[in-house]
Structure formats: C-alpha cells, structure tokens
C-alpha cells in the first residue's frame, strides 16, 4: 500500500517520532549530549501487508543542554505486526553535525574515575525540578540510556518518557568502563502509568552508551 500523509499534530505520528528520538539519542548520546524532539515536521504512514506499519518522519531535534542547537533528521520506524516481543526497527539520517562533546565527556569520565567512594544519588530531579549541576551528566546518561528502553518496549500505542531517576549507584569496575545501576521511573503517556525500571548502564567516551541489563519493576502495592 502507498504511504499516506499524516498531519504532524497526529498522536500516532508523534508516538513514532518519540520512539525514533529515543533510539537516536541512545545511539548518539553521552553524559555531555542529550537529544530531544523539538518538533515533527512531516509524517507519512505505510501499511505493509503481513509485516507491519511503517512511518516516514522528518524531525527537528534539539540539544538538551543548548536549546538553540538543533539538527534536522529523517527517520523510518517499522512497528512489527503481531509479535509484541520484537522491538520496532528504526533507521535514521542526521542532516548535519552534532556538537562535539569530547571535552565535557572526558571531564565527567575523569571525575567519576577518580571518586574514592562510589557515586550514589536519589531523586533526580527532586520534587521541585531541581538538578544539582554536578548531577546533570548523570542525569543525561540516564536520559540517553532510557532511549534504549523506550526503543525496546514501544508499540504504536505507547509513548514513553523518562520521568525521574529514583536511585543511581555507581558500580566500580576494574576495566576502563564506567558502570551505573539506575532505577528510573518511565512515564507511559497513553496509559498514564509510571513504571519503575532498573537498568545497568555502561559508558566510555570512545565506546558510547550501552544498557547491558534491564528489568521492569513492579508498581507499589498502594497503587
């Protein structure tokens, strides 16, 4: 079937855009660079028999740390029919360069490597939206890593966002990687649920971000 134009205000198109952004952020992000969706410029949808629904998107992304720094992007998102255990396929092309964050990344890397006691923190941001400046890279790392969870767990009827870091604990390693154990809260927009999720995140300035293990946590009994 041919691709059908969707209005950019369309909820479904925006869910696909959020998914693409999460994936992209995971692939390209670092403690010094987080990407967020500024706006969806164009969306088309194609129903492919026996395969699934494919979305063709034109996005504008912004640098989370510098709102004026934007980059255009085209992306394709394929939601697979039927089996909900397969993550959607995402492909993207960035038009232009992302800011170089080598310096900021290396500073953060050295800072954490040289900590005597493992880093531990809770509630980032706090209830009032505050993030201590020295926690910003820790927070951005969670933002980037959550892109992986968003990618792996999204369907056409879900829209995930990182709501808050409940707890983060550094795990000291003998090799060159930094490792953090996060418990985050993901907000799912359609069901309006807040889902606690645990993830183990590895990072190295040259090797990017990796989620090596993750597990969805049960909600509290009172909910």
């Amino acid at each position: 079937a041919a691709a059908m134009e969707l209005p950019p205000s369309h909820g479904v198109a925006n869910r696909a855009a959020a998914l693409a952004t999460g994936y992209l952020c995971y692939r390209r992000g670092s403690p010094g660079r987080g990407l967020a969706l500024r706006c969806l410029r164009r969306a088309r949808r194609q129903d492919i028999d026996d395969v699934g629904h494919k979305y063709y998107l034109e996005l504008v992304l912004e640098d989370v740390l510098d709102k004026d720094s934007t980059v255009n992007c085209t992306a394709e998102v394929l939601y697979h029919l039927g089996n909900k255990n397969i993550a959607p396929d995402v492909q993207f092309t960035l038009e232009g360069e992302l800011k170089n964050t080598e310096e900021a990344d290396n500073i953060f890397y050295s800072r954490i490597k040289s900590l005597e006691k493992e880093l531990v923190a809770e509630n980032i941001p706090d209830s009032h939206g505050n993030v201590p400046p020295e926690m910003e890279p820790v927070r951005l790392l969670a933002w980037v890593a959550s892109g992986y969870l968003i990618w792996q767990n999204s369907t056409e009827n879900t829209k995930f966002q990182l709501a808050q870091i409940k707890r983060v604990k550094q795990v000291k390693r003998s090799d060159e990687y930094l490792e953090f154990d996060y418990t985050i809260l993901l907000h799912e927009m359609v069901s309006q649920e807040i889902i606690p999720w645990q993830m183990t995140v590895l990072w190295h300035p040259q090797h990017g971000v990796q989620v090596t293990q993750d597990s969805r946590q049960p909600k509290h009994a009172s909910q």
Binding site: G129, N130, M189, S191, Q192, I194
Partner: protein
C-alpha cells in the same frame, strides 16, 4: 521616588522646609503635614524622582542635615511582597503546598473584595473544602468562564497557573485594558485545585500520584482518574475498569466527590457559563472535543481556529510551540473527560491545556519555569476569553 529624612535644628530650618513644600509637591510621611513641623524634629517626606536631585542640592546648600531613607520607593514596595511570601510561605514563582494555597484563597479574596469572592463548592473524599474564586467586577446578567486546575495530582504547574491568573487579574485590573474589559464584562470561576487529596499526597508520599485518593470497594488499590470520571462516553475507550490502573474510570460517572462537586456547580450555573477551560500538564497541547469519539464537534472549524490563534499568542512570548486539535487524534482517545462533558452540556467553547514541557522534565517542571509558563499561557487564556466575550451566546 525617594524618601528623605531630615533633622531640623531650629526655626530657620523649619522655614526652609516650609518653602520647599510651597514650591513643589512634597508628601509628608512624618509628621502628616508641613504645619506640624517643629525644630528638633525628625521629618520624613517623599519626593518625585525627577525632583529629588534638586531637593538634595537644596538641602545641602541650606545646611540641613538629611539622609535618603528610601532610595527607590517602587523597589521597596515590591520587596514587601517578597517578605509577605516569607511569612505566609506563598509565592507565585514557587510550588505551594495545599495549606499555603488554601490560606492564599482567603487572603486574596480579603484583599480584593471588589474583584474576588471565595466560596466552597463541596468536599473532597478526605474531607477538605473545595474552594472556588469568583473573579470580576460585580454587575448584573454577567456571563462567565469556568477554569479549573489540579485535576491530576502530579501536574504541579497547573495549580500554579490558576494562582498566577488570579494574581494577574487583581494586579492588572484598571491597568491592562484587556483584563479590565474581561473582568468588567465577564465573571471567571477559578477552581485552583480540583483533586486536593491527590495533590497533598504528591507532597507527602508519592510525587507521581495522579488519581484521587478514594478507596475502591473490593480492591487494595486507591483512587479514580477524575478525568475519566465524567459522563461523556463514560468508560468506553481510553479508560480502565481496573481500580489499580492510572486511568481507572471509577465505579460510575461522578462517583468521586470532587468530580460531582464540579459537575453540580457547572450544572447550577449552566445558563451563565459560556466557556470551560481545564488546565493540565504536560505535552504543550491545546485540545478541544472530542476525546471520547473520533467524531468532530459541530463547531469544529471555529474551535480549531480559536486554538490556532491562541497557540500563536502563546508562542509569541518565548516561542513555545503548542500543538492543537481534537483530543482523540491529537493525544489519544479517552472517554469521561470533563471538557467533553462540559461541551455536551452546551458549553460551546471547551478547551484542555497541557502545559510545559514536552518531556524533558515532564511533571517535575523546575520552579524557574513557572513564571514563563504562566506568562505565555495567560496570553492564550486571555485570547480565548476575549473571543468568548465577543461571541456570547
């Protein structure tokens, strides 16, 4: 404007002050009038800004001992609002807990009796009074706009906006032509927090709580989603029948005391209420009916163009981009919403705002964004209110 303090030594210096007062506008603070000025007295008086250097020179030349008591009167007056916040704890640029908001509703009405009156429309599940503020210059046959905030407990920016709106109304009445016209010709019913119990819970226990705090029969799970609890396609789609879910529609339409109180109030004032606004967060959306069906409302074109224009107004301040459209396609289909219910009751202009941001902070929007968010949203609300005033029915 400056305030001076002079110490007068003798009759000669008293004369100097007398001549000053006869040559220009001098507002005596202490004593009340120039006729009470005596030697050895400490005299305080206010002078317009552009005359103050002349006065200083004059006092210097005449050898009168003086000092500047208040260098900038406006700053000092403004600072008083800050110190009031320090004692009451209320601030328009911070998130206020329920106790503070409740006290503020009493204060703001007491301080502005010509423009604001407070009443109670009902009680929450946990027994808290639901305060509503009626804003407007008293008049007969006035039509009204109803606006509520704080449906969902974790959306803290929402009650912050209702408070901001009230502040702007009382502070700019008589100064801003649009606001003055609105308040002269319309009444605004402002419900600063609908789901008070939930709001309190987000301060004491769980920042991410959404629903009410009512017990559900036969379940350990608490609360109903108030915005799935209205009689508009109730519980047909986009809502859950499970009490443990965040979008639980409740045991019946208006099963919640809070939603029943709101609905009762609107029904009782239906002949006067011409627009319904409900404030939520987040996503930066301006939505109108329907959410419980993909069907479009009969005045879809009109609502769409109002939403387009209001979004443009909002963006004009800080370039904050809003998406607008009917609820079902723009966000997701969801039955039982208060906006759809109000619309089906006959209130032609019914809008849901989803305020900042688009997910970077989500529900935990930093306090530094309260002011800009409220300022831009106010532009949109004033636009809509003005449109309604020009299209009364």
């Amino acid at each position: 404007q400056k305030v001076f303090r002079v110490i007068l030594q003798n009759d000669e210096q008293v004369e100097i002050i007398n001549s000053l007062a006869s040559n220009m506008q001098v507002d005596f603070w202490q004593p009340d009038s120039v006729t009470l000025v005596r030697p050895k007295m400490q005299v305080d008086f206010r002078i317009e800004a552009d005359l103050s250097s002349e006065v200083e020179d004059f006092l210097k030349e005449s050898g009168v001992e003086y000092r500047v008591l208040i260098d900038n009167l406006q700053d000092a007056v403004d600072a008083q609002f800050d110190s009031k916040a320090r004692t009451t704890g209320h601030s328009y640029e911070k998130y206020n807990n329920w106790e503070t908001i409740a006290a503020w509703t009493a204060d703001i009405a007491a301080q502005n009796p010509d423009l604001v009156s407070r009443s109670v429309i009902g009680e929450t599940y946990e027994g808290r009074p639901m305060y509503i503020l009626k804003m407007g210059k008293s008049g007969s046959n006035k039509k009204a706009i109803f606006m509520d905030c704080g449906f969902h407990a974790r959306e803290w920016i929402s009650p912050a906006f209702c408070q901001w709106f009230v502040k702007e109304a009382v502070e700019t009445y008589g100064k801003d032509t649009v606001m003055t016209t609105l308040l002269d010709n319309l009444d605004f019913y402002v419900l600063p927090v609908v789901n008070i119990d939930g709001y309190v819970y987000t301060w004491t226990n769980d920042r991410m709580w959404r629903k009410t705090r009512s017990k559900n029969a036969g379940s350990r799970c608490i609360g109903t989603d108030p915005n799935r609890n209205f009689n508009a396609g109730w519980c047909t789609l986009g809502a859950s029948k499970s009490p443990c879910d965040s979008t639980y529609c409740g045991s019946a339409p208006e099963s919640e005391k809070e939603t029943k109180a709101l609905a009762d109030f609107i029904r009782e004032h239906l002949s006067t209420i011409k627009a319904y606004l409900t404030i939520h967060s987040y996503s930066q959306l301006l939505l109108f009916p329907y959410s419980y069906t993909y069907k479009l409302p009969s005045n879809y074109e009109e609502l769409n163009s109002i939403a387009r224009a209001a979004s443009k107004e909002l963006a004009s301040l800080y370039n904050t981009k809003y998406t607008y459209g009917p609820g079902a396609t723009t966000i997701y289909p969801a039955a039982g919403g208060s906006d759809d219910w109000a619309y089906d009751e006959g209130i032609k202009y019914s809008f849901t705002f989803e305020l900042r941001d688009t997910g970077r902070y989500g529900f935990i929007l930093p306090e530094s964004q309260i002011k800009p968010t409220c300022e831009e949203t106010l532009l949109a609300v004033k636009y809509i209110a003005n449109y309604v005033l020009e299209h009364l029915y």
